[in-house]
């Protein structure tokens, strides 16, 4: 059997198509990593946006009340964006504290034509601190406000808000947009109000309950980030690509798997080499088993190989540092930190049934039709239809697809510790997967054992 498997591997690795896909995959991997790296730049449309605003301002008719209002908003945005460009560390302050003041000033100046000396003074004062990059001044302002409120009315929400500001001071967290600690503080700060409002309500409907849980999770994760100082939510790191591996490269996994299992039998028939293979002193079932085992062996090898290539290429492009940043999974109020590679491994393992079912389906079609293209096309169609049916089942919550395989072949909810989207138990899903696999294998074996090698 080992001899047979070795021979199969030799045949596969000598194939050109295998090499071609690998080269394409490497290009694709490089592109993906570059996109992740440049994601922020790509998303940073500020320049484009300000230019647009300037254009718009030129065309506005300032005698029209509505258009004047638009004009005021526009120049306010332009002013703050200009400031943000120069004082990145103060971005949040400019967007939140200064923006409101400038908007007020501009409204007074252009719309109500009121006196703006007072407000101008206030703005200038703030601007001074901003220009000095004295972010601590604003933190202390915020802290004073909170302390004042606290002296009137003690509450958990205010205590929490206070601790955030103290954290900022203690750990030197400025207000820069790309500072992940700043992001975490702001996220929690924004969530606090909504969270405590929901918490105080007695009868939450299911929508509100979901929102409440989502806020709880978001806050827990961001608290963890603050506590451990890990940039776990970064989306332009190697870790982020790896976390999204199935999403980014799932198609390639599928192509590899289908390409191998779709051709391993049919190509021997098409090329006529099956005549040599079947006149070797082995039972037909042994030959089929060897081919099947070869696929089973190759799927994890290919996955490992792909991950390795991605780590090397991604590491070169995005840096290897993020490999030490854990993936955070929230479950029942507890945060679990996984090493990113462990998380990726578990995720790939959880999607293995999907690839296994598709590969065996392709193997079956390849055995029955002896046509590589038919096997590959049909399997791919099945995969697409499977996705459609999964989505349909999700939307209409219908039970007619209860036994359809695509609802069962992915177990990633176990890794992410969320509930099964269709409310199936994992053992039921596993049972369905096994039944499908057994049926397909039986058909393949019966068919292959009986098959005549046709005359040309």
């Amino acid at each position: 059997m080992i001899k047979l498997i070795k021979a199969e591997l030799k045949k596969i690795f000598h194939k050109k198509s295998f090499l071609v896909i690998t080269v394409i995959f490497m290009f694709y991997s490089i592109l993906t990593n570059v996109i992740y790296k440049e994601m922020n730049t790509l998303l940073n449309i500020d320049n484009l946006y300000t230019d647009e605003l300037k254009e718009e301002n030129k065309s506005l008719n300032l005698n029209n009340a509505l258009e004047l209002e638009q004009y005021v908003t526009n120049i306010t945005i332009l002013e703050t964006e200009e400031l943000k460009k120069d004082y990145k560390d103060m971005a949040y302050i400019i967007d939140n504290k200064l923006y409101d003041l400038i908007l007020e000033k501009n409204s007074k100046k252009f719309i109500t034509k009121e006196d703006i000396t007072d407000i101008d003074e206030q703005i200038e004062e703030y601007k001074n601190y901003i220009k000095k990059k004295d972010w601590r001044y604003f933190t202390n302002l915020e802290l004073n406000d909170i302390n004042e409120s606290l002296s009137e009315n003690k509450s958990e929400r205010l205590e929490k808000a206070k601790s955030l500001e103290e954290y900022r001071l203690k750990n030197n967290v400025n207000y820069a947009e790309d500072n992940y600690l700043n992001k975490a503080i702001i996220t929690i700060k924004t969530d606090l109000n909504e969270y405590y409002n929901l918490k105080e309500m007695s009868n939450l409907n299911s929508e509100m309950q979901k929102r409440y849980e989502a806020l709880e999770e978001e806050m827990a994760i961001n608290n963890y980030i603050l506590e451990k100082k890990v940039d776990a939510l970064s989306n332009n790191s190697l870790g982020a690509v790896l976390k999204n591996f199935s999403g980014e490269f799932g198609l390639f996994i599928l192509i590899y798997v289908i390409m191998i299992s779709g051709s391993i039998i049919s190509e021997e028939f098409n090329k006529g080499t099956i005549k040599y293979l079947l006149t070797k002193p082995y039972k037909r079932s042994s030959i089929l088993t060897a081919k099947l085992l070869t696929i089973m062996l190759l799927i994890p090898i290919i996955l490992l190989f792909m991950v390795l290539i991605e780590i090397i290429l991604g590491g070169i492009i995005l840096g290897f540092n993020s490999l030490s940043v854990p993936v955070l999974i929230y479950h029942n109020g507890v945060i679990e930190a996984y090493h990113v590679l462990k998380y990726l491994g578990l995720l790939l393992l959880s999607s293995l049934p999907e690839y296994l079912v598709l590969s065996i389906l392709c193997f079956l079609l390849s055995t029955v039709t002896t046509s590589t293209s038919a096997a590959i096309t049909c399997t791919f169609l099945f995969y697409l239809i499977g996705n459609v049916i999964s989505n349909l089942a999700l939307i209409y919550n219908t039970r007619i697809f209860k036994y359809f395989i695509s609802l069962h072949w992915n177990f990633d909810y176990l890794v992410n510790k969320t509930s099964n989207p269709y409310n199936f138990s994992w053992s039921f899903s596993l049972g369905i997967v096994i039944i499908y696999i057994v049926i397909m294998l039986c058909i393949s074996y019966v068919y292959f054992n009986k098959k005549d090698v046709k005359n040309i």
């Binding site: 070795k6 021979a7 045949k11 000598h14 005549k275 293979l277 070797k280 082995y282 005549d452 005359n455």
Partner: protein, 299 residues
């Protein structure tokens, strides 16, 4: 020693009966020429013998093992080249041989080299098969058939694509092999290619074996072929046997020994048929064979 025994082999594709009770034997040292026109069932028979197609009825026994019951043992000492030599074209000739050898136990690289020399591929063996000519592929196919040191060699139309030089090489190779206690089954639609080195002939037509005879038996007959020119061949028709042939209005082909031919000429002349010309030709092995087989025509 008996190497291959085919007994009442029947094969149906759906309702169509392609093989009807095919039976023959190959013993040690035999080179059996398996002759028949295209579509007679040669390749199907060979595929059934090799287990590539399932036998509907009958038995194939190789080296005393039943192919149906003990396929692995039966097939282990068989080497075969069926139809075209279909190998992995993305590998070199040598890689192909190594790959095929890897399915068997204990085949040394030396013995692979010997086989390469035997088939005369040593100069091109490290080239990709995709660059081979048909003749070279055929040689590689024969090399693969020999790789497990078989005692039953089955070659389906091995002369296809071979040049006269190649056919000569093949003939020498097979003669050499047959002396090493192996049995050879070699199919062709043309007996004349094989007659010089076969010792047995099996003729198959429409899925039925017409006869199996040894070459010696066939060669024993001292009959000749005569081409006769007469004034009108329709008049001569009633004097012909079913192996004779009317060529056109003036010419007929007659197969008889000398004595019978003399009688035949006398008879036709006495019956007022004019004979302008008689030409004597050698009888081909095929025609002789048909004569022995009882005059059944191959078509």
């Amino acid at each position: 020693m008996n190497i291959l025994k085919v007994e009442n082999l029947c094969k149906k594709f759906g309702k169509k009966e392609v093989l009807k009770n095919v039976s023959f034997e190959i013993n040690e040292g035999d080179i059996l020429a398996f002759i028949g026109p295209n579509g007679a069932g040669k390749t199907t028979s060979i595929k059934c013998i090799l287990g590539l197609q399932k036998i509907t009825k009958g038995e194939v026994i190789i080296n005393n093992y039943s192919l149906k019951k003990n396929f692995v043992k039966a097939i282990s000492k068989v080497g075969a080249l069926v139809e075209a030599p279909d190998v992995y074209t993305y590998l070199t000739g040598y890689e192909n041989l190594l790959l095929q050898a890897s399915y068997y136990k204990n085949i040394s690289e030396d013995s692979i080299m010997d086989i390469i020399k035997l088939v005369g591929l040593e100069n091109r063996i490290y080239d990709k098969v995709s660059k081979y000519s048909l003749g070279m592929r055929q040689r590689l196919g024969i090399a693969i058939a020999l790789i497990n040191n078989p005692n039953l060699l089955i070659l389906d139309e091995p002369t296809n694509g071979l040049d006269p030089e190649g056919i000569k090489d093949l003939r020498e190779l097979l003669l050499k092999l047959s002396k090493e206690h192996i049995g050879i089954l070699i199919s062709s639609h043309n007996l004349s290619e094989l007659e010089s080195f076969c010792n047995k002939v099996c003729i198959i037509s429409h899925g039925e074996v017409l006869a199996v005879k040894s070459i010696k038996d066939i060669k024993k007959i001292d009959e000749n072929k005569y081409i006769l020119k007469t004034d009108n061949t329709s008049k001569i028709k009633k004097y012909l046997t079913n192996i004779d042939k009317i060529i056109d209005n003036n010419y007929v082909e007659i197969i008889k020994d000398e004595e019978a031919m003399g009688e035949f000429i006398k008879r036709v002349v006495l019956n007022d048929i004019k004979v302008y010309e008689i030409k004597k030709e050698d009888l081909s092995l095929e025609e002789a064979f048909i004569k022995i087989a009882g005059g059944k025509k191959i078509d």
